[in-house]
Every structure is written in structure tokens, then in C-alpha cells.
């Protein structure tokens, strides 16, 4: 009954190629957006912002970035943590070098810097593929973290190598630093997540996205039909790194406020983002959000359930978390190898026929 095409008449090509062709879907999307923009900021508190919503949004942006590279263009990358570090340190250097520059420009510029770094580390993808490329990007991960640890210029010669964010404001409201209101923190991340998801959606359904997908599906065939692999692959690396860099900048400046390269941007983070993309669904915008939410929220949820409600000892609860999260990941991948996004598609299909499935 829901999601029915009956009665939907499209009279032009733009109508035909819109993101939400079914009007119910479109209104549902507007409704969710309205709740996120209007209702959530009114009720949000520190805990919900810092432990739940901001991390989900920041990781979603990183997952979106990796999804463009891996899901849409088929290039496996294990350098996500390193690229996030570029974003974070770029943002820190910009913020401290130009104190008057608005934080939004700092974040976007640090994304652009990361895009440049991504292009350099994407060059090997023109010659090597698959697992070999994964290893080459792994080099980026280790090199970048080593770089930020080894040259004190990157952390402004602080004693411990930690970078700490100074306070910056948008329209007079602080969005970084300890005096940030939870709603401001949340809204700035939401704005970036929304804008980047919109950008990703429009890139991937246009000619650029089609050239990426052609490369992903079969690069030789793509070359024969006229897709330039050099351009397509480097574009994918640049756009992906831009997203990941913005995620890193937000991770440092808005979410944590103080980071250190080897701890915050280690190899674990690269795997974490890859898991988000795989669990969420390769080649899906919604999947990036779903995967990030799954990986970030499940441990928090289990912790509050096991320790908060059932009063388990913290060590047993933490170890159980690993077992449960691991088991659920395996379960989901067996039941739905195409990720949460595909699960959502099947669910929609069911709703469309409901309540008369036959």
C-alpha cells in the first residue's frame, strides 16, 4: 500500500530521474529531514550529541567517502584513517595559522587538501588492482600517521604531540571548543552530512558516477567505450578523499576537540570505515549512513543495556559487546550479503505490497 507508483504521473525527464520518484518516499524524506533539523536540536543534550549523533554523522561522512571509492569505483582503500588525519591536521594548521578564517572554510579547505593528498596516493591505482591496491593504500595509512607524529610543525611544537582545537564560531555561536552547545555541534555536522550526501547522490547518478561504475564493473570494457581510467580513478580518489578529509576535520574539531595521530587515526579506523561500508551496502548513500549508525551505535547500545540496565560488571559487558557485535556482523552478512541498504530495499518492497501480498 505504501510506496505505490499508482497515480504517479511523470510528464518530463527531470521527473523521471529524480532521487525519490515515489511521492510517499519524498514526503517521508522531507519529514525525516524536518525532524532532524527542527525537532532534534530542541531536545538534544550533551550525551546525545557527543556520544550518539555527532559520531554517527561524522563517521557517515567518512563512510560516504569510502563508498564513493570502493562502492562506486571499485578501488579498495585501507588508507581512510590516514586521510582523516590529513583532514584533522590540515584543519588544525588552518585554524591556528588563520584565526580569523571561518571554521566552515577551514573544514572545506582541509577537505580540499586531503583531496590533493588522495590524488597522490591514488596514482598507484592506475597500475595495480584489488588486494595489491589495498596494500598500496595501507602504505598511505602508515606513512601519514608517521608523518604527523614525526614533524613537530604539524602539531605546532606542543610538548605531547596532541593537537587541541581553539574555539571558533559560526554566526556568533561557538561550534568548536568546550563551550559549544550540543545543538550547535549537532547542526554543523548535520549540515555537512546533508550537503555531502546531496553532492554524493548527484555525482553518482550523473556522467561522473556512471564512469566510476563502468570502471568498477570492468575497467577494460570501460576504456573501450571511452571512459578515461586515469581521469575516472583519480576523480574518485579526489572526491572520496575530500569527503574523508572533511570527516577527519569534523572528527577533530567538533567531535573530540583534541586528538593524537596514532591513537585517533590508526589502522583500526580504516578498517572500521571499511566495515561500515560493507555492512551498510557497497554503492549506496543510505547504506553509508546505516553502516555508520550500526557500527557506532551498537556498542553504545549494548553498553547501556548490559551495564546500565542489567548491572553487569564492565569487563564482562565489554567483552560480551565484542562477541555480540561480531556475531551480528556475521549474521547480517550471511543473511544479507549486500548490506543494510539492500535489506531496506527488500523491506520497502514488502511494504509496497502490504497488506495484500498476493
Amino acid at each position: 500500500m505504501l510506496y505505490r507508483e499508482a497515480g504517479e504521473f511523470r510528464t518530463s525527464y527531470p521527473d523521471d530521474s529524480q532521487t525519490f520518484p515515489i511521492s510517499f518516499d519524498k514526503y517521508r524524506y522531507y519529514a525525516i529531514l524536518a525532524v532532524l533539523v527542527v525537532v532534534v536540536p530542541l531536545v538534544i543534550n550533551d550525551y546525545w550529541a557527543n556520544a550518539v549523533l555527532v559520531p554517527v554523522l561524522v563517521w557517515s561522512i567518512a563512510a560516504l567517502g569510502l563508498n564513493i571509492l570502493t562502492g562506486y569505483c571499485g578501488q579498495i582503500s585501507l588508507g581512510t584513517g590516514g586521510f582523516m588525519a590529513v583532514g584533522a591536521y590540515g584543519c588544525y594548521k588552518l585554524m591556528t595559522a588563520f584565526p580569523d578564517l571561518n571554521i566552515i572554510f577551514c573544514i572545506v579547505l582541509s577537505g580540499a587538501i586531503t583531496a590533493g593528498v588522495g590524488i597522490i596516493f591514488g596514482l598507484p591505482s592506475l597500475r595495480i588492482k584489488g588486494f595489491y591496491l589495498a596494500v598500496a593504500t595501507l602504505a598511505a595509512q602508515f606513512f601519514l600517521v608517521w608523518l604527523f607524529n614525526s614533524f613537530p610543525w604539524f602539531y605546532n611544537y606542543s610538548a605531547s604531540g596532541q593537537i587541541t582545537v581553539p574555539e571558533r564560531t559560526v554566526l556568533g555561536f561557538p561550534v568548536t571548543g568546550p563551550y559549544t552547545e550540543p545543538w550547535a555541534k549537532y547542526l554543523i555536522c548535520l549540515a555537512f552530512a546533508f550537503a555531502l550526501a546531496w553532492l554524493a547522490r548527484n555525482l553518482t547518478r550523473g556522467s561522473v558516477g556512471r564512469s566510476w561504475m563502468a570502471i568498477r564493473d570492468m575497467d577494460i570494457a570501460a576504456e573501450i567505450i571511452g571512459v578515461n581510467p586515469l581521469k575516472a580513478k583519480l576523480q574518485a580518489f579526489a572526491v572520496s578523499s575530500f569527503f574523508v578529509g572533511i570527516a577527519g576535520a569534523l572528527f577533530f574539531s567538533v567531535y573530540l576537540g583534541a586528538v593524537e595521530a596514532s591513537e585517533a587515526f590508526g589502522i583500526n579506523q580504516s578498517f572500521l570505515v571499511l566495515f561500515m561500508v560493507i555492512i551498510g551496502g557497497l554503492g549506496s548513500i543510505f547504506g553509508s549512513f546505516a553502516g555508520a549508525a550500526f557500527i557506532v551505535l551498537l556498542p553504545v547500545l549494548l553498553k547501556n543495556l548490559l551495564v546500565g540496565k542489567l548491572s553487569w560488571p564492565t569487563d564482562i559487558a565489554t567483552n560480551s559487546e565484542f562477541i555480540i557485535v561480531g556475531a551480528l556482523i556475521i549474521f547480517f552478512l550471511i543473511v544479507e550479503p549486500h548490506g543494510l541498504a539492500h535489506l531496506a530495499r527488500l523491506f520497502k518492497e514488502k511494504l509496497r505490497l502490504w497488506p495484500f501480498p498476493h
Partner: protein, 428 residues
């Protein structure tokens, strides 16, 4: 309907638990992950002492203490989650047991008015109370540690170490890098050579290449700022290259039983700084046995009692409890707030009599905290491992760090922090 119920349950599970009316002290420890061998005994010591106060004295000043455990696994993001989920419950003071998490919490605690006590770790510059009114790191901090270690080396050499080579082996993280500026400064003053061997966390179990490098450089003394498995591996590797272990000195976080037992007999002679006494000689252990262990209330298995890190946890709990008492005396109320707790920490005076009355006679250095000085007096012992008796022995008197130099460096770093973050120092 089912979906709605599930969603409601999920939202309930995500929301933080509600408040209690006790003296609430969050413990952001770690019993899982790569650093758990250090986190478990420290946490046990802290919990057991607080349990003892509840059982024996009915709490502090008649109000029971409630320790809220939150597992961080030494991970910064989990630490932030822990802070946010516990701060609404009336948390009096945060003790994150991790330098990385301390860096996170310093601006947050300062903004929200909850004190942070990082005894012997955290950001060294926080010792300056004018710039960091809400942060405390007494009884001694990392730069004191570096200065005390060099003083000990000076004592061994009759006050002249010009031309000697000192190597710092350190964890390549905020914690391990803390002593570098002080050592560089001290090297200039005393004329010794210093170099640094960073060990990444990922490679802390495999240090062969770094130790080959050290063997080639032939340092006279090695200092270590390590934590977790890195310590034990380093002691073993030092023994492997036949480095005389009595010239190998660890910071107080690199001087527990965990770090020397794996190397067996070969660890004999390894030294470390000591913030407090090891062993179970203090009378407090009789009380712990009677009121906690015998009643089956021990936080862990009780096996760690008397180890260096267990004693660190218990000693830290005693300092916390004394600060609470001080706060109760100043404000004349038993059920204190975080702001009162800050006053208690700032006016804390630990004397020999107070320690003895608590069952910790001559256990740690006496010290006094003040508005300006949040770092204590910067004194520590040197302890040495006796592999035959399997125990740590104190081998020096209390050594006082070079306060004049340290205070200058602390002020420089605090000023830099203040300039970056637009902080006006308060008057003291």
C-alpha cells in the same frame, strides 16, 4: 506496534542512567584491551579502598561513596562517551587513567565545572593552577619524573654527568612524548647527550630493531616512558642486549610487577620511580583484609593486593577521599558538589600524620596543593626490582625534582596553551 516498542526500548537503552544521592566518583578505568594488565590492579585498589571506607566508616563524613565504573579500554572515544554518560549523575571528580583521555577532558571539565585529577599522568602544564583551575596532577607529574630520574643519575655519578649518553625509550603517544622538552632542557644544563627512541603502540611487542639501535649507540643510561606490554618487552630486550639493568630507569608507570616478572631472573636490578611504597606492610592492608576481602567484597580477585599498581589505586583513592574530607570541612556540608570538590582538591594538605591515620604511614611523600600549585611537591623514590625475592625495594630517599626549572617550563607551556585558547590566567 512492535516496531514502536522496539524503537522505544532502543531509545531507552541509548539514554544515560539517572542520578543518585551519594558521593559519586566515576572511575574511567580499563579491564579490557591491551592495557588491561595495568588497568585491572589500579582499578581494584581504588574500588577496594572506597569499599573499605563504606564498610568501616559508613562512607566519608557519613555519606556513602558510590564509584561508577565505566570501561574505556584506554580508548579516547569511549572515554568521551563515559564522561558524557556519567557527568549527569553528580560526578565529583574525573580520574581518566589515560593521558589521551585527560587531554580530552581538560577543556570539557573546565567548561562544565567538574575537576579532573590525573595523579602522575595527564597534561604536565596543568600543574599550574592559575591556567588550569579545574585540573590537578599531584603528587608529581611527568616532568618531575624526568628531573628526578636525572637527579638519581647525578647522585650515582657524584654530580657530574657531562658527556654521558642518556636514551629515552618512550611510547610514541602523548604520554611518552611528555618528558622530551624537560630532558632536552636538562641535557643543556648538565651537559649530557640525550636521544629518543619512540616505540609505536602497534609495535610494542616487537622492539628488536629499536634495541639493536640502542645497542649500537651504547648509552650509559636508559630512561623509559612505557605502559602496557611495552614495558615487559623492553625490560626483556634490555636484558637480551646485556644492558646493565641498574642503569635502566622507568617512570612510575613502567615499574610494576607486570613489567619485570616475564623477564624472570634477568630483570634483576631494573629500577623505576616510585610515587608510593610497594608491598603490603602498611596497616591499611589489615583493614582491607578484614572489611573487604574477608567479606567477599573485593573488586577483583584480591590477588593483586600489595602490587605496585594496586597500591597506586588505593593511594589515589586515599588522596581522593582526603580531598573530599577537606571539601566537607571547608564548606561544612557532607554532600558536596563538584565545585566544592575543586576547593577540597586545591586546599588538600597531605601530612605524615594524615597518612598514618588512614593506615598509610610513610607511604607517599607529604605535600600541599595550593591555588597556584596543582602538581604537588614533585618528590619520588627510586625502587629496584629484586628478582630473587620477587619484590620491589626502595633504594633511595625521597628525591626532590628541580622545581625551579620545572616551574619555568610548566609556565611556558601553560602560557602557550592559554594563548592558543584565549584563556586569562586567574590571580592567586
Amino acid at each position: 506496534m512492535k516496531l514502536k516498542a522496539t524503537a522505544a526500548a532502543l531509545i531507552c537503552a541509548l539514554a544515560a542512567p539517572v542520578a543518585h544521592a551519594d558521593l559519586v566518583i566515576p572511575w574511567l578505568g580499563y579491564r579490557t584491551g591491551p592495557f588491561s594488565p595495568g588497568g585491572i590492579p589500579t582499578g581494584d585498589g581504588f574500588h577496594d579502598y572506597m569499599t573499605l571506607l563504606n564498610e568501616r566508616d559508613g562512607g566519608i563524613g557519613g555519606v556513602r561513596v558510590q564509584v561508577i565504573d565505566c570501561e574505556t579500554a584506554y580508548n579516547t572515544q569511549k572515554g568521551v562517551e563515559c564522561y558524557e554518560s556519567t557527568k549527569g549523575q553528580g560526578s565529583l571528580v574525573y580520574q581518566p587513567l589515560s593521558t589521551g583521555i585527560t587531554y580530552q577532558l581538560i577543556p570539557k571539565g573546565t567548561a562544565e565545572g567538574i575537576p579532573i585529577l590525573s595523579s602522575g599522568y595527564g597534561r604536565t602544564a596543568a600543574a599550574n593552577g592559575r591556567y588550569f583551575p579545574w585540573v590537578f596532577n599531584f603528587p608529581a607529574h611527568y616532568w618531575d619524573g624526568a628531573s628526578i630520574a636525572i637527579k638519581h643519575i647525578l647522585d650515582l655519578n657524584g654530580g657530574d654527568i657531562a658527556g654521558k649518553k642518556v636514551t629515552l625509550v618512550h611510547l610514541n603517544a602523548a604520554y611518552g612524548r611528555e618528558p622530551i622538552p624537560t630532558l632536552e632542557e636538562l641535557a643543556k644544563i648538565h651537559g649530557f647527550e640525550v636521544d629518543f627512541v619512540p616505540i609505536d603502540f602497534a609495535s610494542s611487542q616487537e622492539q628488536k630493531s629499536q634495541w639493536l639501535d640502542i645497542r649500537r649507540k651504547k648509552p650509559d643510561y636508559i630512561l623509559m616512558w612505557g605502559w602496557g606490554i611495552m614495558n615487559a618487552v623492553a625490560v626483556q630486550e634490555a636484558a637480551n642486549i646485556r644492558f646493565p639493568l641498574e642503569n635502566f630507569i622507568g617512570i612510575w608507570w613502567s615499574g610494576s610487577e607486570n613489567d619485570v616478572l616475564p623477564a624472570g631472573e634477568r630483570a634483576h636490578g631494573y629500577k623505576a620511580l616510585a610515587l608510593h611504597r610497594p608491598g603490603t606492610d602498611a596497616p591499611i592492608f589489615d583493614d582491607l583484609q578484614k572489611h573487604v576481602f574477608d567479606k567477599g567484597l573485593a573488586s577483583g580477585t584480591g590477588e593483586h593486593s600489595g602490587t605496585v599498581l594496586y597500591n597506586r589505586g588505593a593511594y589515589g583513592a586515599m588522596l581522593t577521599a582526603e580531598a573530599i574530607k577537606t571539601a566537607q570541612e571547608i564548606h561544612g556540608v557532607a554532600d558536596i558538589t563538584p565545585a566544592m570538590m575543586r576547593d577540597g582538591l586545591e586546599n588538600l594538605v597531605i601530612t605524615e600524620e594524615k597518612m598514618a591515620a588512614n593506615g598509610f604511614p610513610n607511604f607517599g611523600p607529604p605535600f600541599a596543593v595550593s591555588c597556584e600549585n596543582h602538581g604537588g611537591d614533585g618528590k619520588a623514590w627510586i625502587q629496584q626490582w629484586d628478582a630473587h625475592a620477587k619484590e620491589w625495594k626502595l633504594v633511595s630517599d625521597l628525591i626532590q625534582s628541580d622545581k625551579e626549572l620545572i616551574n619555568r617550563l610548566v609556565l611556558e607551556d601553560a602560557e602557550k596553551y592559554a594563548a592558543e585558547n584565549n584563556i586569562e590566567p586567574r590571580e592567586c
